[in-house]
Symmetry: C2
Subunit: 122 residues, 2 copies
Amino acid sequence: MATDPLSVTFAALADPTRRAILKRLARGEASVTDLSEPFDMTMPAITKHLKVLQGAGLVERGRRAQWRPCRLRARPLKRATDWIAQYRRFWEESLDRLDAFLQDVQEKEKPKGARRHGQTKV
Amino acid sequence: MATDPLSVTFAALADPTRRAILKRLARGEASVTDLSEPFDMTMPAITKHLKVLQGAGLVERGRRAQWRPCRLRARPLKRATDWIAQYRRFWEESLDRLDAFLQDVQEKEKPKGARRHGQTKV
DNA sequence: CGCCTATTTTACCACAAGGTTAAATACGCA
DNA sequence: TGCGTATTTAACCTTGTGGTAAAATAGGCG
């Protein structure tokens, strides 16, 4: 797997269990047992997911007796969202479709020779 | 890998090569050869990355003679960003830190008994 | 100490990811 | 038809991921 921060963040988010864990943590701190409760999954599996989230800096662990409470750390999400933001113009006003359309038109009008018997239908 | 749309989108973004491809496509349509040029990677590898991007609906392929041009489709990014947006309040105003701090304080003040010799330092 | 609870570590497994090379396919064109 | 260019498919390899069960660790408490 790629190890740059953005890749690590996106990879952490690319799993429904982990996203659910984050959602749960948005409501406040929780223990591993708490977190595992909604899932049909053993604890070690949750521990692993937490490791991934920690690795992405999305979860911070505490230590209270034998509990190792988890809490949300959202900062990496900002970077993720900032990266995505550069594409905003492509979905606002259906610009991606529009752009595609314009490029098609442009393509068909280009006097490129050999255009006569190219597949005109696209 | 999980197959729900959000997971597929995030997984597609969790690779620097694929993000670079998207960035390139933001400047306009490109062929596979164009796309592979900046990378020290064989074409089949690029083809695979494109498959992943297509699977996530982030890239659309055309067909012009032996070229299969790629173009950006940004709509799935909106859903990704919308999902992340629900956590915005946690990073704005350092709310995640603040929250962590408050929970610590709260914890220390909780008259939970046995608090006397707990690790007070944290 | 010895037990109980919470959590992690240690193998282990099946399968997906990300690469490679070599062969196959798709089209345009002489 | 047959060659050349663009791209994909097939087969393979190595590593990572998501899960398991069983054993190890950590800490409070009688």
